[in-house]
Every structure is written in structure tokens, then in C-alpha cells.
């Protein structure tokens, strides 16, 4: 795949993941505000998330989108703010994405 095609794909993935993330983040924040009204506790959160498979799907989707969005965005930011670019930066961004995905995966597994 040519360089221009890869860059174009990264652009599409980053923008589309951001587009999809926006409502999920809004829902996440609204849920946090709602949940904190009666006092925040692990038991209260787990009782809500474990009662429905929908929450697991919701947060798994969010982790996946955040992984794609953050890794591509961080690659661009690092390129612009430092002199670092090229294959080594691409690899670092990929490692960052894997770390995000694994950590996020553990978090989703914990609330499921």
C-alpha cells in the first residue's frame, strides 16, 4: 500500500473514530454525573455495569475507538512538536495503541 493511501486511511480512521467517540464520551460523562449523586462506590458501579451486557459493549466500543483515535492523534502531535517522525514513530504509536487496547480490555473485563 502506498504511503499516500496509508496516510489517507489514517486520516479517515482518526476522524471517523473521533466522530463516533463524541456521543460515547458524552454518555460516559452523563453517567458519571448521575452515578455520583448517590455516592460513588465500586459496588454501585459494578451492580449497574454487570446487570447488562449493553454496558460491556458500550465500554468495549469506547476502548476500541479511543485506541484508534489516540494513537493516530499522538503520532501527529509528536511529529509536529518534535523532530521525531518516520518508521520509529510509527512503531511507537503502534505500541502505544496496543498498550491502550490491553489496559482498556482489562478494564472492560473487570466491569463485565
Amino acid at each position: 500500500m502506498s504511503n499516500s493511501r496509508i496516510e489517507c486511511w489514517l486520516y479517515v480512521l482518526q476522524r471517523s473514530s473521533g466522530l463516533l467517540l463524541a456521543p460515547l464520551v458524552a454518555a460516559h460523562l452523563a453517567t458519571m454525573v448521575y452515578a455520583a449523586r448517590g455516592g460513588l462506590s465500586a459496588a454501585e458501579i459494578l451492580s449497574r455495569t454487570q446487570s447488562s451486557v449493553g454496558w460491556s459493549v458500550f465500554y468495549a466500543t469506547m476502548v476500541l475507538l479511543a485506541t484508534v483515535h489516540a494513537a493516530i492523534g499522538l503520532r501527529a502531535v509528536v511529529h509536529e512538536l518534535t523532530a521525531w517522525h518516520g518508521p520509529s514513530l510509527d512503531l511507537a504509536a503502534l505500541v502505544y495503541a496496543i498498550v491502550l487496547l490491553v489496559l482498556g480490555g482489562f478494564a472492560v473485563a473487570a466491569i463485565s
Binding site: S4, R5, E7, W9, Y11, V12, H79, E80, H85
Partner: protein
């Protein structure tokens, strides 16, 4: 009354110029330049329809705001305190201050020329046409990139002070002169050269003519008046962050050709502008559009390239190559 005799009178207040002269730049700024200059707070007044003019004529009021004072009053004011960053690339570039007497309707280029001809002949700067056509006199005026030949000093000065520096993002040659090579190399990299399709190379009778009202042609027309002054390139923060980024002017040029059906390099050009340093790097900060002296919106052109390249990618992925 409209009078051609007054067209060349820089101190005249009512040059009524045929539209053809406006477009050619002989009588004043182009209409698109009027819009941009107004938006940028420059001196060129919008062209009201000439009340006494015939068809195809526009009246251009070139009076700057300070022109309400008499020329005598203008010259009596304190001289300009002109701070110019001097030096070669190897030096840090010291600021040297000059005192330049005021004159009615004095442009920033007039001020620089006065310094070079009367105060310090070693000052290096670049200009050619002095009428906003060639794009060679751009420099940074009080922190903002501008075309100096059509910028009245009184409108952009801070008090009596004018601070002149070379354009940002381009290698310095000396004083106010920058090396534009990299700027034009990027035009080449972005596929800025028209390559006629086979139909265009054929006999004239077989050629198709662009329809001026078509969407594609309007897309071309929106960016075709670029004078390659480098103002947008100097204003672009992304170029500052990523020196290899193609920049607004080269991408704007590419967009005018992508919209031209007579060109044979559309796919090749879309690939050229979609690379790592291409249109997808643009953050839509719009500095280029804000400062373009002729009123072009490279931001819109870049958005068009992003849209077109994305569609081409999705078409390819769906197995429907263009």
C-alpha cells in the same frame, strides 16, 4: 465624472477604471483583492459602482482612512520609526531603527524603498511590479505577513512604529529577502503543473471548453488568482511545525488543477497531496485564508482535497476505481 486620465494618479481620489484594467491590475487591485483587503483592514476601499460610469466600469476609491487629512498635514506628522531586522542567515539578525518622513498614501514598500535609497543602500529587499500582481514584496509587518506594495503604512503601523521582518517559514537570504525555492519546489511536489489530457492536445475543434458556471470550474476560479506571494505559507503554523508540509499555496494550486477536467494528472496529483506531508496535515487554523492578500481561501481548497482524496480512497476500497 469617470476619467481614465486619473487612473495612474496615486494621489487621485476618484480613479474610475475599466473592469478589464482592474482584472489586469493596471488600474488597481482586482475585485477579489478588494474583498480580502477590506477583511484584513487594509487600505484599499471596496469598489462602489461608479455613479456616473458606463457598463463594465467600477469606481475605485483608493483613499486610506488617513486621507481625510490634507497631504500637508500628513507630512507634518512625526516620521515613521521603522525597525528592520537586518542580517545574513548566519547572524541572529539585529533590529536597526530608521526615521522615515511621512508622505501621503505611503505604502510599506514606499517606506522600505525610502530607507534603501536615502538612508542605507545596503538594505536588501525584493519587489517588482508594485501593483499587487507579482507577489514578490511580501514581508512581515508588525508581526503579520503582508504584501507591502498595497498596504498603506498608516493603517498597519502601531503608533508611529513599523517593524519589518522577513517572511516566516522560509530560509533567509539577507535582511528582508527570503529564499522562495522551497516554496516553489512544493508546488512541483504537489503536482502544480498542468498536463493537458490527450483531448486537449488534439485539434482545437475537438477540445471541450470549461463551463464557467459549473461547480468544478467555480472551484478552480476560487483559487486561480494566487500570485504566489508566500504570505499564506508564512502565516501557516503547520509549516512551522512540519517543515516538509506542502503548505497552503501548493495545495491551493493542486486543487485548481484537480477541478480542471482538461488536466490528465488528477489521480497522480491526489496521491501527491495525500502523503505524510500533504493535505491531511492541515489543522484548519485558517491563518492562510485570514492573511491571503487576494482573498483566496486555501483552507477551502485543502478541505476540497481532503474530501476528494477520501472519496477516491473509499472508491478504491470498494473496487470502483475512478
Amino acid at each position: 465624472m469617470c476619467s481614465r486620465e486619473r487612473t495612474g494618479d496615486r494621489d487621485g481620489l476618484d480613479p474610475c477604471i475599466p473592469f478589464s484594467d482592474l482584472r489586469s491590475g493596471r488600474g488597481g487591485p482586482t475585485p477579489v483583492a478588494h474583498r480580502a483587503s477590506q477583511r484584513a483592514g487594509l487600505d484599499i476601499a471596496a469598489p462602489p459602482l461608479c455613479p456616473s460610469g458606463g457598463r463594465g466600469r467600477l469606481a475605485v476609491d483608493v483613499r486610506p482612512a488617513h486621507a481625510v487629512t490634507s497631504p500637508a498635514a500628513e507630512t507634518e506628522r512625526a516620521p515613521w520609526e521603522v525597525q528592520i531586522r537586518r542580517g545574513m542567515p548566519s547572524q541572529r539578525g539585529e533590529i536597526v531603527t530608521y526615521r522615515v518622513p511621512r508622505a501621503p498614501k505611503q505604502t510599506v514598500l514606499d517606506v522600505v524603498t525610502y530607507v534603501q535609497r536615502h538612508l542605507d543602500a545596503t538594505l536588501a529587499y525584493r519587489f517588482a511590479c508594485r501593483v499587487g500582481m507579482c507577489g514578490s514584496c511580501a514581508m512581515t509587518v508588525n508581526g503579520i505577513p503582508r504584501w507591502t506594495c498595497r498596504t498603506h503604512a498608516a493603517r498597519v503601523a502601531t503608533g508611529d512604529r513599523l517593524r519589518l521582518e522577513p517572511l516566516r517559514n522560509l530560509p533567509l537570504v539577507k535582511d528582508l529577502v527570503v529564499d522562495m525555492s522551497v516554496f516553489f519546489e512544493k508546488w512541483q511536489r504537489a503536482g502544480g503543473v498542468f498536463r493537458p489530457s490527450p483531448a486537449e492536445r488534439s485539434e482545437r475543434s475537438e477540445r471541450r471548453r470549461p463551463t464557467p458556471s459549473s461547480r468544478a470550474r467555480r472551484g478552480t476560479d476560487a483559487g486561480i488568482e494566487c500570485i504566489a506571494c508566500g504570505v499564506c505559507y508564512a502565516a501557516c503554523d503547520v509549516v512551522g511545525w512540519r517543515p516538509d508540509y506542502l503548505g497552503p499555496a501548493a495545495l491551493n494550486r493542486a486543487w485548481t488543477l484537480v477541478n480542471d477536467f482538461r488536466d490528465a494528472r488528477r489521480g497522480e496529483r491526489l496521491a501527491a497531496v495525500s502523503g505524510e506531508d500533504g493535505c491531511h496535515c492541515c489543522h484548519t487554523l485558517e491563518s492562510c485564508t485570514r492573511h491571503c492578500p487576494v482573498g483566496i481561501s486555501p483552507t477551502a481548497a485543502i478541505a476540497g482535497l481532503k474530501r476528494r482524496s477520501t472519496l477516491a480512497l473509499l472508491r478504491t476500497a470498494a473496487g470502483r476505481d475512478e
